[in-house]
Symmetry: D2
């Protein structure tokens, strides 16, 4: 059976296969809302074990959602790509039971380097955090089996 | 009973009280190895639920440890301080069962703004990631009860 | 004479007055192409004294253009605002005589903190660099005289 | 005549040759105070043309000094290396005629990627800004002729 080569189909396939294999993301209840070439949208509910001492979501868990969404977006071409670095700005707190949605888009992709922006919003549309990620593509390796 | 005013004693007190109240950090098995004025050292074992699809520790969990250590360090004076932004560089993968230790130190503190560096190393001393964090101190509030 | 209160007029006024007073930006031949509430677009030609040893524009001069554009955008409301930190990613080299255009837009503004994105492109539209800037607004001070 | 292979001698040679060929850095009056394997220390006086509308040094010129020092440090092995990205935090203003000294040191170097920290201080030792830089080494090319 031939593998889909359509970029959208490849991205959809990567999204499903990455989530299935990614214990960290699936273990936190993350869901893949949408995939595309260079893009991903993922969501996660803020659970009690994610709260810090101020009874708001630990910034690390917000980062985890943003970082996963970045990883899914930069792997959407099914070329194995890793995160080299991220810059995260925290703009508003996330409360218990908030449903956070992270949307990643590609700013640049040249050679083995990619640059991505991720915005994390709550269910009211409030911007909670932004992530800028730099990715590094490895040579001649797929992210998931075709 | 009088509160300890010695900066080291304050930092030790903050470390214990923050960890006790921080479901996110304690729930991941983080331990506070040392506290001081402007510094913190914390450790965490890489557990199966932290692995991504490449069978290495999800960068978000490495960030979580580094971000917690940053938070503990910038709150070590028991003045309520929040993370404004972080920059993380991922340098080497963390493997299952690795014990990661994050060490935070203060670069600058002026007005309400602080700047901190965190280095995350594995049990062999390999540098896994670095975090640079910018903090914002709120006015006239303690982090934990004196 | 009454001061214009229209946000666009305020931004235009700030752009003119800031450039006139800013020896660093005007000395490099920067021009303000457009101003708006939370936005700015500025341009600069790559001159011989901006070249590094590789005969391309020194990254610092690209940053200077991006940083000025960020400063103009975050001061566009005529409330004195300073840069707290920037993250710059260099994506492609800028050549001698290239005309670089930087476009800044506001991502977030809450309390005294703002977050801005700047993209620097050459005359062919190639993305040369991106800057993410965090700003801090001072209380009750204008940037330029009304 | 054989080329010096001693790492310190190589770094010294690179420092001299880079500065001689770098119109941007030398044109601002930058001086190389010290070079070493993975390190550099450079200084620059704040001149009138570097001032912004607040009559302090434009952050872009502070960044220029820090970025040059980063470039010199990551090229100190005479292996051609370019800046991929920088994060700069501005901590205190630099005044007219201040002499700024930037000191760069290597945090990590693995494969083609390096990570460097730069601290910029004035003549009183006040920390003015910090830069964290990520570098990318090109294959099989020297920075300056041996």
């Amino acid at each position: 059976m031939a593998e889909p080569r359509d970029p959208q189909a490849v991205a959809d396939h990567v999204g499903r296969a990455m989530l299935a294999g990614d214990a960290a993301s699936s273990g936190l209840g993350m869901q893949v809302e949408a995939m595309g070439p260079g893009t991903a949208r993922m969501s996660m509910r803020v659970q009690p074990h994610m709260l810090n001492g101020f009874r708001i979501c630990h910034g690390g868990y917000i980062t985890l959602l943003a970082d996963s969404t970045f990883a899914f977006a930069c792997n959407s071409y099914n070329q194995l790509t890793v995160a080299a670095g991220i810059t995260v700005d925290f703009l508003a707190p996330a409360q218990p039971d908030d449903v956070l949605t992270a949307e990643a888009r590609e700013i640049s992709r040249a050679g083995s380097t990619g640059l991505y922006d991720v915005q994390v919003r709550n269910q009211a549309g409030t911007l909670i955090a932004t992530l800028r990620g730099r990715s590094h593509r490895l040579k001649d390796r797929t992210t998931v089996p075709e």
